[in-house]
């Protein structure tokens, strides 16, 4: 079970990047100028999708509200934690830098699309099955988001470093 130096290096760089990226998005100025506007945009997209399926909701800032329920999208619920996670993993991986950046961008887009589904499903659970809202909010969707991040990483590694490729890939 001993790790090769390359695997060890990957895990160390991954951990360092994960903490560094997360530290960046928690800086006040970044939060105010980037994260909050991004979260508000995410709320608008999620609200539009809910209106599209017949739920009459209003979006104010990061809050999506209907007549029976409202959700406030806060830090930790905007999908950025999973994006940071997959970016750290891809950027730590030994591959050409262009492929790493493209992979990270594609993964970020896919994860945020999945996050819109998460937000809308949580809103619908809040309206129609409020008793299971907390369970899905905390355990189920967090696991699925990070699971999706890991899967995107695996798909990407199978493209940039296939199993039969030489060790110098």
């Amino acid at each position: 079970m001993a790790l090769a130096p390359r695997q060890t290096r990957f895990l160390i760089v991954f951990a360092v990047l994960l903490i560094a990226f997360y530290a960046v998005i928690t800086i006040d100025a970044v939060d105010r100028r980037v994260v909050l506007p991004f979260t508000a945009a995410l709320a608008r997209v999620s609200g539009a999708a809910l209106n599209l399926i017949g739920e009459k909701v209003l979006v104010t800032g990061t809050v999506i509200s209907g007549s029976r329920f409202a959700v406030d999208i806060r830090g930790g619920c905007n999908g950025l934690e999973a994006v940071v996670f997959v970016c750290a993993a891809m950027l730590a991986f030994h591959a050409p830098i262009r492929k790493r950046i493209l992979g990270a961008l594609a993964a970020a887009v896919i994860l945020e699309a999945l996050n819109v589904i998460r937000i809308d499903s949580l809103y619908l659970l809040g309206v129609y099955h409020r008793n299971v809202f907390d369970m899905f909010h905390l355990a189920v969707w967090q696991t699925l988001m990070f699971g999706a991040a890991v899967f995107l990483f695996l798909i990407w590694t199978s493209i940039v470093a296939p199993r039969n490729a030489s060790a110098s890939t």
Binding site: M1, A4, R6, L18, G75, G147, F151, I155, S158, T169
Partner: protein, 175 residues
């Protein structure tokens, strides 16, 4: 990849059931182990961690304020751990099960550390005058930030690193 995704979803279901059903019993394991770590901090030398269902209560015979820790919110990363190992090829083979066992030990240690961080953070910033008396600004910031990092990305980082390193997956691609 589709089969792997299906096995992953099966693992999510199994992991969720285990997490939900086993948390009350697991709290009885987590609390005394974390209490040993907590006693290393003199401020908590007399603290007693009492498990109760999905929570752990911090009590003491001394003037230490009491607090309630939502232990289950620190342990649900076991769902992702079991789902990732379930997604491996032939998940019931001995090597995979051995890796799961080792990963569970790592996870348990990380849960103890996670609960310790949560307790320190709670007492550093959410106990009013007691917090101000016993923690400086830098220490309070440190524990609050550490708790945030652990709960938002750290607890999943530990799971990913354990799975990646132990499942043999890391050897199948060039890192």
């Amino acid at each position: 990849m589709l089969l792997r995704a299906l096995r992953f979803l099966g693992g999510v279901a199994l992991g969720f059931w285990i997490w939900w059903a086993a948390t009350p019993a697991y709290s009885h394991l987590l609390a005394p182990a974390t209490q040993l770590l907590l006693h290393a901090d003199r401020r908590f030398a007399a603290a007693v961690l009492e498990p109760q269902e999905r929570k752990v209560f911090v009590t003491s015979a001394t003037p230490l304020p009491t607090a309630t820790m939502p232990a289950d919110q620190l342990t649900y990363n076991i769902i992702l751990l079991l789902a990732l190992f379930a997604s491996n090829d032939r998940p019931w083979r001995a090597a995979n099960l051995r890796a799961v066992a080792i990963a569970l030990v790592i996870l348990f240690i990380s849960h103890c550390i996670g609960l310790l961080i949560s307790i320190e953070s709670t007492y550093a910033v959410r106990q009013g005058a007691w917090s101000e008396q016993h923690y400086g600004d830098a220490a309070a910031n440190f524990w609050q930030t550490t708790e945030l990092v652990f709960r938002i990305v750290g607890m999943f980082g530990v799971v990913f690193a354990s799975w990646w390193g132990l499942s043999g997956h890391s050897k199948s691609v060039s890192t």
